[in-house]
Symmetry: C2
Subunit: 257 residues, 2 copies
C-alpha cells in the first residue's frame, strides 16, 4: 500500500494575518505523515502594489501581471509569505523548504496565450517534477509552495495557487496516496449559502450534476468542484473542501469519485 | 581525494542590474563541478524601503533591521533577487535551488546581542547544516543562498552575505575541497588603490601582516582578509578576491595559508 500524503492549499487571508497564520501552522504541524503546503498571498500583493503606486487589475478573479506586478508577487509570494511560513514551521519542528516552480525546476509552465485577455506574466502549469518532490518528501522535507512557476527560459510566472495545489497533488498521486485539501472561508460546500452549517458532507459526480441542475451549487464553486473531480480522475484519492481551522477534523465536504 | 566545490559570493550591485546579472549567470553556469552561489541585494532593499517610506539606517556598513525593514529584506533577498537568479540559472541548465537559512534549517543564527548598537533583526551565524547541503549538492542541485537566516523560534534574521559565504564554505570544507570566491568591485587586493592594475596575486599571513604594517592594506579590506584567513584555518582550501566578471579566470588575489 502506498503511503499517505496530504496536500493543503490555503488562501492569502489565512497566511497573511498573524493570528490565523499561527493557528494554521500549529494545525499543519499536527498533521501526521507526509505533507505539502501550497499558499496564496494575493491580499499582501495588492497592498504592496498599492503602496508602490501600482494598480491591481483583476479579471475573472485573476491578477493581470505586468512586469512591475510580477516583481511585487515575486517579493510577496516567494519572499515575505513563503519565508515566514517556512520559519514558522521550522519553529514547530517541521522541516519546511520554500519553493517556487523555478527551484529545482519543480513546476514548469507556459505563459498564458493572449486570447480575449492578456494576463501578462501568468503561467499555465505544464509539468510538475514529482520525482524530485517525492525524493525530498521521503527524506522528511515538507515543501511549502508559493504560487509562482517558471518557463524554463528565465522568466518567473504568476500562477494560481489552487492550480498549483491541484497539479502537484495529481503528479504526486503517482507516488503517494494523496488527499488534497482546499481551505475555504466556509465550512465546506453549502446546501444553503445563507446557512453556514448546511455543509454537504460528500459529493459524487452524479450528485454534483444534480446540485448544479437544482441551482444549489453555483458560481465560483462550480470550477472548484470540476477541478476536484479532475484531480480524482487523475489519481488523487480524496479532495476535501473545508475551513483552514478544521484541517485536522473530519468535517467539510468530501469530493468522491 | 575530495571533490572540488566553489562557493561564490556576489554583492548586490552585480545581481541587481540586468546586464551584469546575465553576464554573472553565464559565467557561474560555466564553472565546472559542484558550486554554491551566495548573493546580496542591499541596493534593491534600500530602494524598496525608500519607496515605502522606510528610512535605511546603516551602521558600520550593516543595516539596522527593524520589523518593517525585515519585511523589506525578506521580500527583496528571499523573493525578488533570489528567485530571479534561480530562474536565470535554470534557463542555463543549472539546477538551482533558492534557500534562506530557514529552508531545511540550513543556517541557524542568533539575534545579535545589543551592545553599543541595536542592529535589530540581524543574525550571527551559529550553525550551517553541511550534511543537508552536501546531500543536495551531490545530487547536482546548486544552492543559491539569500542573506537571511532564522533563529529556530520562527524569526527570520537579516545576515551579512560575506558571513553566509564564509560560514557555508567552512562547513562544507568537511565534505569538499572548497574554494571560496569573494567578488569585488576591483580586480583584487591592490598594492596601490589608485592603480586598478596593481593587483597583489597572492597573500600569505606573513605578507598580510607586512602589508598592514606598511599601510598598503587598510580600511574595510582588513576584516575581509581576516575572514579569509579564518576560513582557511577552518579547512577552506583557497580564498580568492576578484572581479565578478573574472570568476572563470586565473586572476584576482589568492589568499593562502
Amino acid at each position: 500500500m502506498r503511503e499517505k500524503l496530504t496536500v493543503i492549499k490555503v488562501g492569502g487571508k489565512i497566511v497573511e494575518e498573524e493570528a490565523t497564520l499561527h493557528k494554521l501552522l500549529d494545525d499543519f504541524a499536527a498533521i501526521e505523515g507526509y505533507k505539502v503546503l501550497v499558499h496564496g498571498g494575493g491580499r499582501s500583493a495588492t497592498k504592496l502594489a498599492a503602496q508602490l503606486g501600482i494598480e491591481s487589475q483583476m479579471v475573472n478573479g485573476r491578477r493581470i501581471t505586468d512586469a512591475e506586478t510580477l516583481k511585487v508577487v515575486t517579493m510577496v509570494y516567494g519572499g515575505l509569505v513563503n519565508k515566514n511560513i517556512v520559519a514558522g514551521l521550522q519553529a514547530r519542528g517541521v522541516n519546511a523548504l520554500g519553493l517556487t516552480g523555478a527551484d529545482m525546476d519543480v513546476i514548469r509552465s507556459v505563459k498564458r496565450p493572449v486570447k480575449d485577455v492578456d494576463y501578462g506574466f501568468v503561467g499555465d502549469v505544464k509539468q510538475v517534477n514529482a520525482e524530485f518532490l517525492g525524493d525530498l518528501i521521503h527524506k522528511g522535507v515538507v515543501p511549502v509552495m508559493a504560487p509562482l512557476t517558471h518557463d524554463g527560459a528565465g522568466n518567473l510566472l504568476n500562477t494560481n495557487a489552487d492550480t498549483i495545489a491541484g497539479e502537484t497533488a495529481k503528479a504526486l498521486a503517482a507516488l503517494f496516496d494523496v488527499t488534497l485539501v482546499f481551505c475555504f472561508e466556509k465550512k465546506g460546500v453549502l446546501r444553503d449559502e445563507n446557512d453556514d452549517d448546511s455543509v454537504i458532507p460528500q459529493i459524487t459526480p452524479a450528485e454534483f450534476k444534480q446540485y448544479v441542475a437544482d441551482g444549489v451549487i453555483q458560481g465560483g464553486m462550480i470550477p472548484k468542484l470540476e477541478n476536484s473531480f479532475e484531480a480524482l480522475n487523475a489519481g488523487v484519492t480524496e479532495v476535501v473542501i473545508t475551513l483552514a481551522s478544521a484541517i485536522n477534523e473530519n468535517s467539510g465536504t468530501r469530493i468522491k469519485k
